[in-house]
């Protein structure tokens, strides 16, 4: 029997284990297998294979039973996920239903999740800006949170590395707050967006309207064709899964790339319970999972472990990985694990009309739009709130028909719509400040369907966020007015945190093990062979989207991990 056990253990032993297969997990899988490591990728959800498991991707609008609308049954059963803009009849299969993974809202928090191979990389809005030193220096400057242990220069080559592989469209704009990257040709502007760009440039030296940078292949390069990916076809139904691989997803890109090495074992339906810590060895030795189908516990072993379960779930896994050495969660000597969670503030928006350029319109669809990088509190503190916000912007015309009539006249009107004027709109993306009071923790009694403690989430806005909302509304109104837009309306939808789907932190990076969980290599200060490179590692949240930074941090950490492993350091 002893021999059998040893065999079983050997069979379940890999060089590396990656927990999660979303944007960062996919990169970990690609990098580790690419460097020759036999890698086990654990995914709690089912397998979703590129193309064949996108059931709605080729469906025409009329083929949807409810033309895209959610049924009452689905909405009633899913009050949380139903709030997400991307959750509709054609995408339900890629979202976690409310009952599937319960959690406790100590404060209102809409936790949006995708449990499947590829995770939310199938569903994301694909905006990919680099962070700048203004972002990495933010906490050191104003004293909130802790100083990042890295700067832009540490990440720049890794941004280039992941951008070339993922395929990022954009324009080199030469803006301090938004470093340029390795870009494929940018998407086209329309004339009203151009008009706004000129109006803003004419009035402000430090404000820019640029074309968004997004993970779309506008012109495939050999590296994209080698992945089996093709040019974006402008369908703008990305969240159903793109059969062309026109945008970056783990499913279309990193996971099949890792599989091609022959070094990857992908194990779906594996809900991670905890990371196993061996006190004698002083290191993590493996991962304990609950098989989603059999509900049996099982253990897998490896030299290094990459934790990429998505920000809050990575916190959950660490919190649930307790031992005599780490009674409060793996690597949690500082006590900061689960705390200082922050997110992006998407509450405010603005819309207006433009009466010019009525002789022109647009043709086709664009899965991207213009972007206004942060311009507040950049070089100096100039407002009564900390940090800043970025914004999306876009313009378009909508066809309208007079629907007052009835009968043949109505039919005639419907089939001969008139082109309405231009509508313009923008939404904010504000940086929130990480605070100790914004935290996640394990509930002491309630368990999820797999017997794992439920996560308690206590995350809320503060005064800083309210002030930022107001400033965004005022500044955008001023900019819209300068552009001659009329009928300007601002809004604050008071959405719950979480709906932004940009939760970050809880296992933050930092220089000091007393105040942070991870060092500059995304390595647990106290457990050197465990790396956390998803949203959980973020020390602060920037005004930019985080996904590209997760990719760059992951590739960088994997490179370091393999070198350290070869030197015998981990």
């Amino acid at each position: 029997m002893a021999n059998l056990n040893i065999d079983a253990q050997a069979q379940n032993t890999y060089d590396a284990i990656v927990i999660g297969s979303g944007i960062s997990g996919g990169w970990a899988a690609k990098e580790l297998t690419g460097k020759g490591l036999r890698t086990l990728v654990l995914e709690r959800g089912r397998d979703v294979r590129h193309v064949t498991d996108y059931p709605t991707t080729m469906m025409q609008p009329w083929e949807f039973e409810h033309r895209g609308q959610l049924t009452r049954e689905v909405k009633d059963a899913n009050p949380i996920v139903s709030k997400c803009y991307a959750f509709y009849e054609g995408t339900q299969q890629f979202f976690v239903k409310d009952a599937e993974h319960p959690y406790i809202q100590e404060k209102p928090f809409d936790w949006i999740r995708g449990y499947q191979v590829g995770g939310k990389s199938l569903l994301w809005a694909r905006q990919t800006q680099r962070w700048s030193d203004f972002d990495f220096q933010g906490p050191a400057r104003d004293g909130y949170s802790v100083d990042w242990p890295i700067r832009y220069a540490d990440l720049a080559p890794w941004y280039s590395y992941v951008e070339r592989f993922a395929g990022i469209t954009g324009n080199k704009d030469g803006i301090d707050t938004l470093p340029d990257g390795e870009f494929l040709p940018p998407h086209e502007w329309n004339c009203v967006e151009k008009h706004f760009q000129k109006a803003v440039a004419g009035k402000y030296k430090d404000r820019h309207v640029i074309m968004g940078r997004a993970a779309h292949i506008t012109k495939p390069q050999p590296i994209h064709l080698q992945q089996g990916r093709a040019q974006c076809q402008h369908r703008t139904i990305c969240e159903r899964g793109c059969p062309f691989g026109g945008y970056f997803s783990s499913n279309a890109s990193t996971i099949p790339w890792a599989a091609k090495t022959g070094k990857m074992t992908l194990r779906p339906n594996s809900v991670v319970h905890s990371i196993i810590y061996d006190e004698k060895k002083g290191r993590a030795t493996g991962v304990r999972i609950v098989d989603a189908n059999t509900k049996q516990m099982q253990e897998f072993y490896a030299r290094i472990i990459f934790l990429n379960a998505a920000a809050l779930n990575s916190n959950l896994v660490l919190l649930n990985s307790t031992s005599n050495r780490f009674p409060n969660g793996l690597g949690n000597d500082s006590g900061v694990l689960g705390k200082y969670v922050a997110f992006h503030n998407y509450r405010a928006g603005i819309s207006a009309q433009f009466d010019g350029n009525l002789d022109s319109t647009t043709d086709g669809r664009r899965p991207n739009g213009p972007y206004i990088p942060r311009f507040r509190n950049v070089y100096k503190q100039e407002t009564d709130f900390l940090r800043g916000y970025a914004a999306g912007f876009s313009a378009g015309r909508i066809s309208r028909s007079n629907q007052d009539a009835i009968g043949a006249d109505l039919k005639q009107n419907l089939l001969n719509p008139e082109l309405g004027g231009w509508h313009v709109g923008s939404h904010m993306m504000g940086e929130t400040i990480p605070k100790e009071t914004n935290y996640v923790a394990l509930d002491s009694s309630l368990k999820d369907p797999f017997g794992i403690p439920q996560l308690k989430i206590a995350i809320a806005y503060d005064d800083n966020d309210d002030k930022m909302v107001k400033d965004y509304q005022e500044q955008m109104t001023e900019m819209f007015t300068a552009a001659g837009f009329t009928n300007i309306r601002v809004r604050d939808d008071h959405r719950n945190p979480g709906l932004d789907i940009h939760e970050m932190g809880g296992a933050r990076m930092g220089k000091d093990p007393k105040t942070s969980m991870l060092n500059k290599w995304n390595q647990l200060h106290a457990v050197k062979n465990v790396f956390v490179t998803d949203g959980a590692c973020m020390t602060s949240t920037s005004t930019q989207n985080p996904s590209l930074t997760y990719m760059a941090l992951t590739a960088r950490a994997a490179d370091y991990a393999v070198k350290a492993m070869k030197k015998g350091e981990v």
């Binding site: 193309v51 064949t52 996108y54 059931p55 709605t56 991707t57 080729m58 469906m59 025409q60 609008p61 009329w62 083929e63 949807f64 039973e65 409810h66 033309r67 609308q69 959610l70 049924t71 009452r72 049954e73 998407h187 086209e188 502007w189 329309n190 004339c191 967006e193 151009k194 089996g228 093709a230 076809q233 402008h234 369908r235 059969p243 062309f244 691989g245 009525l358 002789d359 022109s360 319109t361 647009t362 043709d363 086709g364 669809r365 664009r366 066809s399 629907q403 009835i406 009968g407 043949a408 109505l410 039919k411 419907l414 089939l415 001969n416 719509p417 082109l419």
Partner: protein, 171 residues
């Protein structure tokens, strides 16, 4: 395009959604005569001309599907009561069932509903009209033959001259 074709072939059966043949309600929400009445109402709102009307495109079936599956019970109630009202009003105003009325009579009756002082009647009419327009405009026939929907435009041109012809005449 090879990739796209692969996707089509490998789609599982359940992914095939709504077509005229597959619209089957899970239970009998409307009686046969109410179903016929709804068909006559949608046909009055969007009639056959040189192209099919709403009835031939099964818009009445689509409406029932939406009302049953997506609307809350109070809206379903408004919908059902509205149908009864239409038949009662037909009897009162032109002494026949709605189905037996001519186009002018039917149109007049529905217009009357739209201006009714009874909020339930108004709501019924705007619900049915809105869904008729939606069902019609999103039907396969209209989207492929009249409005020329393109699933794969393959481009975005930001500044093109406004087309002089209506969308239904462009091709």
């Amino acid at each position: 395009m090879a990739v796209a074709a692969g996707a089509l072939i490998s789609l599982p059966g359940w992914a095939k959604g709504w077509t005229a043949e597959t619209v089957q309600l899970s239970h009998n929400f409307l009686s046969r005569s109410q179903d016929d009445l709804l068909a006559d109402i949608v046909e009055t709102i969007i009639p056959a001309t040189d192209t099919p009307g709403a009835k031939a495109l099964n818009v009445h079936q689509f409406i029932q599907k939406i009302v049953v599956d997506c609307y809350d019970p109070s809206a379903q109630d408004t919908f059902r009561k509205g149908l009864t009202t239409v038949d009662e009003l037909a009897g009162k105003t032109f002494g026949k069932s709605f189905a037996e009325g001519n186009t002018t009579q039917r149109t007049t009756l529905l217009t009357q509903l739209s201006q009714s002082t009874d909020p339930a009647q108004k709501e019924f009419y705007s619900m049915v009209k809105g869904l008729t327009i939606r069902g019609y405009m999103n039907s396969e026939y209209v989207m492929t033959n009249l409005t020329h929907y393109q699933m794969i435009p393959g481009h975005y041109y930001g500044c093109v001259p406004v087309p002089t012809k209506a969308v239904s005449q462009t091709k």
